[in-house]
């Protein structure tokens, strides 16, 4: 709804004061091209009309199976991918003249303002090996965003970098070393320091701990939580590990084939899910407790193909509660309980089991 989606700034400020980021109807379709003339024969609907918000200082977890579009969503929000439709409203500090936050739509900003706003939104990537340039030193890597945004590499900048490195648990003598000299956990710390170098207010973490061993994972999660407090950061935390997401998130969004199935407060979502997919996902996770025995719901088949999704609700072929309406009509994404949004025709009547 790009046309009617324009919210008046005054009205928005009154209503959504604490929303740092609001995503409305965001879509990202990748064209499938075939033949000599590269004709577009279809679209992979990687992100298909999703809406959610992030409050200031909170962590929104984004979970789902591989290929559900969670990483694409993260990248489209920061405008690394050109979105097909939708709005990303962000309360910017930098683009306002009077020091208060100004609400802007990231997707129709001119390039110079978009660049400026990237100081406020940064990213931490999954792979701590490939996301760092092997030919740059730690100091170059962490300084790069600052230099791009017009800082000169002087002693002041270096002092900032040293403070950042110490804050993430590295030492100042690591400054001149190269990424290969570090362990996976340390490399992820370098990536985190780089993300914080411009003092952002929103950090999009794309599977930041998936490649790490459990003990290193715990250290990194603790570090992210500490930094959030110290710098008043908001996180969008993208991961497939449900227990990690529960641990770190205030609210959690569950995605399935490009759509958001459910969003709720983390505790609420895990204890009383409203969407059958959330229930099945929670039940499929192997519990680290040998006495835990339950009737596991084993989802049949595999995740639907986003270039050729099923009719109606995308989850209906794997859903044990599916009825005729689920095959015919796309369920509406609606707020069923305060702060608990779900897209399921039968959400009211089903009694689903959480953890």
């Amino acid at each position: 709804m790009p046309a009617e989606g324009q919210v008046q700034p005054a009205q928005a400020n009154a209503k959504n004061n604490n929303y740092l980021l609001e995503v409305k109807g965001l879509k990202k379709y990748f064209p499938i091209q075939k033949g000599l003339l590269r004709r577009t024969v279809g679209y992979v609907k990687a992100v298909d009309d999703i809406s959610f918000f992030v409050r200031e200082g909170e962590t929104l977890g984004l979970v789902g199976e591989s290929g559900c579009g969670k990483s694409t969503a993260g990248r489209t929000i920061i405008h690394l991918y050109e979105p097909t439709a939708g709005e990303v409203l962000f309360n910017s500090r930098i683009l306002s003249s009077d020091g208060t936050r100004q609400r802007v739509n990231l997707l129709d900003l001119p390039p110079n303002q978009l660049k400026a706003i990237r100081r406020e939104i940064s990213m931490v990537f999954q792979d701590p090996i490939n996301s760092l340039n092997p030919r740059m030193t730690v100091s170059d890597i962490v300084a790069e965003p600052m230099i791009i945004h017009g800082f000169s590499m002087d002693s002041e900048t270096e002092a900032v970098i040293i403070r950042l490195l110490e804050r993430v648990g590295l030492r100042s003598d690591h400054l001149r070393r190269y990424p290969h000299e570090f362990s996976g956990g340390q490399r992820q710390r370098i990536g985190i320091a780089r993300a914080l170098s411009l003092n952002p207010s929103l950090v999009i973490c794309d599977e930041p701990v998936s490649a790490l061993d459990v003990s290193i994972q715990a250290q990194t999660l603790n570090l992210l939580q500490d930094l959030q407090k110290d710098f008043n950061l908001s996180y969008i935390f993208i991961a497939h590990d449900l227990s990690v997401v529960e641990h770190i998130s205030d609210r959690v969004a569950v995605m399935y084939v490009g759509k958001v199935a459910e969003i709720a407060d983390a505790e609420d979502l895990y204890s009383s899910p409203l969407h059958p997919y959330t229930e099945a996902l929670l039940s499929a996770v192997p519990k680290a407790d040998p006495l835990y025995k339950s009737d596991r719901i084993v989802m049949q088949g595999e995740v639907a193909d986003p270039s050729n999704p099923p009719s109606g609700c995308y989850f209906h072929p794997r859903c044990q509660y599916a009825k005729d309406i689920c095959k015919l009509k796309t369920p509406e994404f609606r707020e069923l309980k305060p702060d608990h949004f779900v897209a399921c025709h039968r959400a009211e009547e089903l009694k689903l089991e959480g953890i």
Binding site: E65, L242, P290
Partner: protein, 361 residues
């Protein structure tokens, strides 16, 4: 009641590289029982995968088994299936390229490894990977999956090509691949990650091995597919009375799969016992720390921090003296842990730990 199938005794595997000698496995002993599942857990670099490779006598160069025995209690059925013959073989002493180990590998001891996409190890050259793929446990991309199963069956069982194809279709059906009679002619790239891993299981189980080594078989898969694969493995285990050595760092997976667990740290077993014992009453400080450091599903407490293990895994060329865990141990006893190497001590019913805390009691 429990009958040993593989007994690893004081196994040492060393890698002689330019910078020195890395003791990848250092005095490991453990037993896999017939028809049971043994879980092996530990963080990367603890030697769990090298142990699996040692059992198959396929340690990559420059590694070598320098000490210890791997006793395999072999049971061969005659062709009519009526009589059986028992034999005891030390796998560590077999010729790694010999006929005997090639019969056992894949035929009697099957294996599933991680999805090839994520199993490339930087210490191996690309050539090693390709050789391994051809020799065993990865799918060959340019050949139909059915042919790959059939070939495996023919290498280990006396069947004709047509019979092998029938077995291949039957195996694909058993691991839950839809339309197996069509899928048998698919190439690996036409399958999804979960389906490829099922084909790997089908290949591994096609010769009805007495043991399956599963090295992080579900790490690269989504939870819903993982749940399906684990169910298939459990079902097949019951139907053919197969032992499983299940290697993983996912404590959730291990608690739902294994009866017994070995916890490894720096090439050594630090604790072994029944799953319930280890999870509810861990004795070794490393096991305790490892269990505390994972977030538990459905047990969120606001603002809670995870327990961490302080410090880092030690430099393999410069191992700490005494107990290798002492520099990171919260219960470090100065003058003791850094001097004395702990011994394997019984700490409960079928529960052992490698820690000085329990040695005197």
């Amino acid at each position: 009641m429990s009958e040993p199938l593989i007994e690893v005794k004081d196994l040492r595997v060393e890698f002689d590289v330019r910078a020195g000698i890395v003791k990848a496995v250092d005095g490991l002993s453990m037993t896999v029982n017939r028809g049971k599942t043994l879980g092996v857990i530990g963080e990367s670099g603890c030697g769990k995968s090298i142990t699996a490779r040692a059992i198959l006598n396929m340690i990559p160069k420059p590694g070598k088994i320098t000490h210890g025995e791997i006793i395999y209690h072999r049971r061969l059925k005659s062709d009519d299936g009526l009589t059986q013959m028992d034999d005891i073989i030390d796998l560590a002493k077999t010729d790694p390229d010999g006929k005997l180990i090639r019969q056992i590998r894949g035929g009697e001891i099957g294996m599933i490894f991680q999805e090839p996409m994520s199993s490339l190890t930087p210490v191996f050259t690309a050539g090693t990977h390709i050789n391994e793929a051809v020799s065993l446990h990865h799918l060959i991309p340019i050949r139909k999956v059915g042919d790959q199963i059939a070939e495996k069956v023919m290498a280990h069982r006396k069947v004709t090509k047509e019979e092998a194809r029938v077995i291949a279709i039957e195996m694909l059906h058993r691991v839950g691949i839809p339309k197996p009679d069509q899928r048998v002619d698919s190439y690996p790239h036409q399958l999804s990650g979960g389906q490829r891993q099922r084909v790997m299981i089908a290949i591994a189980l096609s010769c009805e091995p007495s043991m399956l080594i599963a090295d992080e078989p579900t790490t690269a898969l989504d939870v819903s597919i993982e749940a399906q694969i684990l169910d298939i493995m459990r079902d097949l285990q019951q139907s053919v009375n197969m032992a499983i050595m299940f290697i993983t760092h996912n404590l959730g997976v291990i608690s739902s799969m294994a009866e017994e667990i070995v916890v490894m740290y720096m090439g050594k077993a630090v604790e072994q016992g029944k799953v319930i014992e280890i999870f509810q009453n861990p004795k070794h400080p490393y096991t305790q720390a490892l269990l505390r450091s994972i977030p538990k599903l459905g047990k969120k407490a606001a603002g809670e921090r995870l327990a961490t293990i302080s410090g880092m895994v030690p430099d393999p060329f410069n191992l700490p003296t005494g107990c290798v865990f002492h520099p990171r141990c919260p219960l470090f006893m100065p003058g003791k842990c850094d001097k004395v190497v702990p011994k394997w001590t019984k700490v409960g019913d079928e529960h052992w730990a490698n820690c000085l805390l329990y040695e005197e009691a």
